[in-house]
Symmetry: C2
DNA sequence: TCATATACGATAAATTATATCGTATATGAC
DNA sequence: GTCATATACGATATAATTTATCGTATATGA
């Protein structure tokens, strides 16, 4: 029903990494390689994730030998709702939403829909819920103790 | 990011239909054919949807010539959270959740995960939100005025 | 000029969701 | 009993989406 896509998930991992690092050294720069190695993610996927994060404006990039990524916005100013929209685009719990008054082709088969206005209302309540969650919460948790041997998880 | 699957969506349409019909005539029975014709859904898909709904225990079925489906539980007693779990199984915003203390193979590549406990916490908060929504809200909305010519939507 | 980084489009692979088909079973009316 | 009407349900095909991979371009500092 409800699942973050992997890019979003890896994006959250990267943001936690960068924000905790920032607390220790605000001038630090983080490369895709560093994230990939820290968590055992494939480099290519990590690089894509960071490029996506950069497109959202939450982090910024610098090319070249001493390049890498740095935070551009404070995570206290970004809600989970905004983050999901930035990462995955404007979305809805149903395909047809967006226009409360009229059904559309995207409803699929149904040529008549009685639940649309409720769905739209739900959508708003859901987004309100997501907007109440600050991304800064990411920084709070303890460092996870679990660490596995890498070979177990590489195919 | 977050989208109901079609079966769940059609299920909500069917529940609204049945619950409003129940208000007018508590002894009434609803067939898959009636739902399909009322909203322009393909019969086979509607039938599957109603069978799924029946498996959840929210409606019950009767075979035979005067058969069909009737509500088994009051919609005031079913939350959206419970409904989604019944229709789509226990789910989580991330693949790896379920066990707060240990990462698992389902995390995918990552052999170390720093966001897992936050994800699990989010999951609980999200489910709490969904549980605060009564399925009975479905009955409330006005009858939708939009109705399209059927031929526009049949491929 | 070389090593290191990001940029980014194209495409392949895998997964999941959706739709379709066929056949079985139950029931009421006649 | 048989016929029309309904649900039951597994198997499978199709479509859609997500995820992963590849190749190449561009930028920068030593």
């Amino acid at each position: 029903m409800i699942k973050l896509n992997k890019t979003t998930e890896y994006g959250l991992m990267a943001l936690r990494h960068m924000s905790r690092k920032y607390l220790l050294d605000p001038t630090g720069v983080t490369s895709a390689r560093e994230i990939a190695d820290s968590y055992g993610l494939p480099f290519e996927i990590t690089a894509k994730t960071l490029q996506r994060l950069k497109e959202t404006g939450i982090i910024q990039s610098a090319h070249g030998a001493k390049g890498g990524y740095t935070l551009q916005r404070a995570l206290t100013e970004v809600s989970l709702g905004e983050f999901l929209q930035l990462m995955e685009g404007p979305q809805s719990i149903v395909a047809c939403s967006g226009d409360v008054d009229h059904a559309s082709l995207e409803c699929g088969y149904a040529y008549r829909c009685e639940i649309k206005s409720w769905m739209n209302q739900l959508n708003l309540r859901f987004f309100h819920f997501l907007s109440s969650i600050q991304l800064a919460e990411l920084q709070e948790g303890p460092i996870q103790l679990t660490e596995f041997k890498r070979e177990s998880f590489i195919k």
